[in-house]
């Protein structure tokens, strides 16, 4: 398949997936008993107020009409209200949050730095820790170090994320008082504060993931070390370290990196529990609170964004895969 065709094919795939995601999300929320119009109807709720809320929220159209309005808004932009009260959501309008009276695009843009900070930092941490631990365990297979690392790893995958986070806050935040217990400082305003605030969330999130990666890396490295070319590498007199790192790990990393790309893509769409535990306002919190307030457009917008990141990550993974594994061609 040529590069252009490949690209076109993948792009069409991404668009299709996103449409399906939008459809699914709309359907689920359409079926939800909570009625946004009723919720934003005010107190006391008169039929007039209710009708006004429905009109404004666009809920007087059937669900497919709403979905259509939403989708066409991405291309054409949308306006709400009239006269001096008009509110614009310029194209590409990925929805407008009535609860927060802000275009969803703007919400995503303001929340993304938080989530990205959490996700990327944690990802670096868990990748390094996981790959290092997994490789060490593989090399020392069956020995004490392997046992120790795998014990920690198995504990890591068994510990619920929320518990780890909460216990970390109790220990490092309250009991020891070393680190702040939550919140976020933008990097641009206070780099040190940014780092200090993120240390706990990074560690809590990375603990679980590092455990998974250590296990994955270990089994891949063991697998690779059993391959014929490792014997060749030994037979030309390479040091054991070079054999493991240059030949074992390098090959083992191929599947690990692909999984990593997908994980990172998934995480950028919101680290729901981590953000919640550490009172951070990223995409995960935005999504959860939008679900909580039946803020349909925000839910759809953020979900679409998350799904986009996943499909994009998939795409990137495929490209990277063909780069790091010379046997694989795009297609």
């Amino acid at each position: 398949m040529t590069a252009v065709r490949f690209l076109a094919y993948r792009l069409a795939g991404i668009v299709l997936v996103l449409l399906l995601v939008a459809l699914a999300t709309y359907l689920v929320f359409y079926l939800l008993p909570a009625d946004p119009a009723r919720l934003s109807c005010g107190k006391p709720c008169t039929p007039e107020n209710y009708a006004a809320a429905q009109r404004y929220l666009g809920l007087d159209a059937p669900w497919y009409g709403q979905l259509w309005n939403y989708l066409s808004g991405i291309v054409t932009g949308r306006r709400f209200g009239s006269g001096t009260g008009v509110v614009d959501c310029p194209a590409p309008c990925f929805g407008y949050s009535f609860q927060l009276s802000t275009p969803v695009t703007e919400l995503i843009l303001t929340r993304l730095p938080v989530t990205a900070s959490i996700a990327i930092g944690a990802a670096v941490l868990w990748f390094v820790a996981g790959v290092l631990g997994g490789t060490l365990a593989a090399v020392r297979r069956g020995r004490a170090l392997d046992r120790a690392i795998m014990t920690v790893a198995i504990a890591g995958v068994s510990a619920p994320a929320y518990l780890v986070g909460l216990l970390a806050i109790l220990l490092f935040g309250f009991t020891l008082g070393w680190l702040p217990t939550g919140g976020y400082e933008p990097f641009t305003e206070d780099p040190v504060g940014w780092f200090v605030h993120l240390l706990l969330p990074w560690s809590a999130l990375a603990f679980l993931q590092a455990a998974i990666y250590a296990r994955l890396t270990r089994s891949e490295v063991i697998d690779q070390l059993g391959q014929d070319h490792i014997r060749t590498a030994r037979a030309i007199g390479l040091t054991e370290r070079a054999v493991v790192v240059r030949h074992g790990l390098r090959n083992a990393l191929i599947p690990v990196v692909t999984v990593f790309g997908l994980d990172l893509g998934g995480l950028l769409g919101g680290a729901v529990i981590t953000e919640r535990v550490f009172s951070m306002q990223g995409l995960g919190s935005l999504l959860i609170s939008a679900v909580g307030t039946t803020d349909l457009q925000t839910v759809v917008g953020v979900t679409l964004f998350a799904a986009f990141l996943i499909t994009a990550a998939n795409f990137v993974v495929d490209v990277v895969y063909s780069l790091i594994d010379p046997r694989v061609a795009l297609g």
């Binding site: 030994r234 007199g237 054991e240 010379p326």
Partner: protein, 547 residues
């Protein structure tokens, strides 16, 4: 060993390799000397301890193995030497060439870089200098366009090219000794001949001492000066190659030699009377598209297999032999031309008709280990065709399975075993039994013996010949081994790049080949007689200089 003059490069004494658990001593008191410029061949059936012996020289045994004895390289003891010393020896004074060049290279690095790495480990050096040295080495092993080869990834090269690159890597530090563990097993005969020439030149020109491990007596005859025969880890016989191959003393050696199929002597089956055509390919074209390019695996092939006849299909790897078989099964869709079995046109047949045709064909696949479902009993596998195409009851099926086991000379209680509980030869017999379950009109045997030891191979071939004589099915025998074909086939068809280059009665084609390709193919097959082989080598050389 008397012939070796001067002190040996490598002296192995009383080598014992053992594993904990049931295996026990898998190499038992083996000793030999390796002399400069001479080739010592280690032969024996699979599992006899050849590889372990070789690996112990470089300390590359698995950590669970325990080794004792003495291994001296130019007087320096290697057994129990520290890691640094061993590392300097590995790839430095002792080079290694492994079987399966495809998997012996790291898939993610360029071949040139891997060769350069071998040099850098021992000698260091700058990039440019290394690159030049790599190109030089690759040229030295007879690779044309060494720069392109160096810049290629392993998967972009052929097996022969990779094996040459492997040898370049092994000799990159001018080793005094070279260990070659089955260096040609996975290669075509023509490629194999080239590699053997290269190794011979190394020994002759550089004075490298070579430890050659192989199970192919032809290869031994072609290359070795001395032979050591191993059986279950013990030395059975040793001596100069002529003596061991021509006047074997030990019965085991004799048995081993007797089962080697040969291109000379013995009898060629007389052409059976030709019956009705069972399977026909007419101007068949099969093409595969890969990465935008189309490859014609079959390019206008005519083929006819008649009832009671064995047609041998030969050719180098990738020439389209298996594809022809698949075309007859309807597994490879025809792009053009026709294929019919028992009068049913496979191109036009519907799904149902196709299935019915398949019921009339028995297939024996190349790899006996993987052609049986590992999760079911052998009996189930044999009964599978019955299950699919007949409505026999369970008892009736069992009965038939028992008959079939009898036919392939396996005990009846094997029906309850699982494939992994059988040896390779036994598994291949099971595969044959399954292929015969429905009394096929056509048997397609795709490399039925290539994964087997020579002795086992001989038995399986005998069985096939016997069954064919008794049951009279039409048989398409696919093999790259001309000697195998010679033993069974009435007619031989030679394929090259998806085209038939020659066909005719076996005796004629193999004794008076008309096509130069066939001639080269024949000449490249080594025979297990050092004198004869030397003569054949000269013939082959002569053929090569011709265009």
């Amino acid at each position: 060993m008397t012939e070796g003059a001067g002190s040996p490069v490598l002296a192995v004494r009383d080598l014992v390799v053992a594993f904990p658990g049931g295996a026990g001593r898998v190499v038992d008191s083996v000793g030999f000397d390796l002399h400069p410029g001479r080739v010592l061949a280690l032969v024996g059936e699979s599992g006899s301890g050849k590889s372990l012996t070789a690996m112990s020289v470089l300390g590359l045994l698995p950590p669970t193995a325990s080794v004792s004895g003495s291994i001296r390289l130019e007087g320096e003891e290697l057994l129990g030497a520290d890691r640094g010393a061993l590392r300097r020896v590995r790839g430095g004074r002792v080079g290694t060439v492994f079987q399966e060049p495809m998997s012996a290279f790291d898939p993610v690095y360029r071949v040139g870089d891997q060769v350069a790495e071998a040099i850098r480990v021992h000698r260091g050096g700058r990039r440019a200098a290394l690159r030049a040295r790599v190109a030089e080495l690759l040229a030295a092993v007879g690779l044309p366009d060494p720069r392109r080869i160096a810049a290629s990834f392993p998967h972009q090269l052929s097996g022969g090219q990779l094996q040459r690159a492997m040898i370049a890597m092994a000799i990159s530090n001018d080793p005094v000794a070279l260990i070659a563990d089955e260096p040609t097993t996975a290669l075509d005969v023509t490629v194999q001949a080239g590699i053997l020439d290269l190794l011979r030149a190394l020994a002759a020109e550089r004075g490298t001492a070579i430890l050659l491990i192989t199970h192919d007596m032809g290869v031994v005859a072609d290359l070795a000066d001395d032979v050591l025969v191993l059986r279950r880890g013990e030395t059975v016989e040793r001596g100069p190659v002529r003596r061991v191959l021509l006047e074997p003393e030990h019965p085991y050696t004799r048995e081993l030699l007797a089962s080697v199929p040969t291109l000379v002597g013995g009898d060629v089956p007389a052409s059976a009377p030709a019956g009705r055509p069972v399977a026909v390919l007419e101007q068949a074209v099969v093409s595969y598209s890969r990465r935008g390019r189309t490859l014609r695996a079959l390019d206008g092939v005519d083929l006819e297999v008649r009832a009671g006849e064995v047609v041998g299909l030969v050719g180098e790897s990738g020439s389209g032999k298996s594809t022809a078989g698949r075309a007859l099964l309807g597994l490879a869709p025809l792009a053009d031309g026709g294929a019919s079995v028992e009068g049913v046109n496979l191109r036009r047949a519907g799904r149902r008709a196709r299935r019915e045709v398949r019921a009339r064909i028995g297939t024996v696949f190349q790899d006996p280990a993987s052609s049986l479902n590992p999760r079911t009993t052998v009996g189930w596998s044999i009964a599978e065709p019955l299950l699919l195409h007949t409505d026999r009851s369970g008892d009736q099926r069992e009965e038939r399975v028992a008959e079939l086991l009898d036919a392939v000379r396996l005990p009846r209680d094997f029906a309850r075993r699982y494939p992994h509980e059988l040896s390779g030869g036994q598994r291949q017999r099971v595969a044959i039994a399954r292929a015969l379950a429905l009394d096929p009109a056509l048997l397609i045997a795709d490399e039925p013996t290539s994964a087997l030891d020579v002795s086992v191979q001989a038995a399986v071939l005998d069985l096939l010949a016997d069954l064919q004589a008794r049951l009279g099915f039409a048989c398409l025998l696919i093999s790259h081994d001309l000697a195998v074909v010679r033993r069974l086939a009435d007619t031989v068809v030679v394929l090259r790049d998806g085209r038939v280059v020659e066909r005719g009665p076996t005796a004629r084609v193999l004794s008076e080949p008309a096509d130069p390709y066939t001639r080269r193919l024949l000449a490249a097959v080594p025979v297990a007689d050092p004198g004869l082989q030397a003569a054949r080598r000269e013939e082959r050389r002569a053929l090569e200089v011709q265009p």
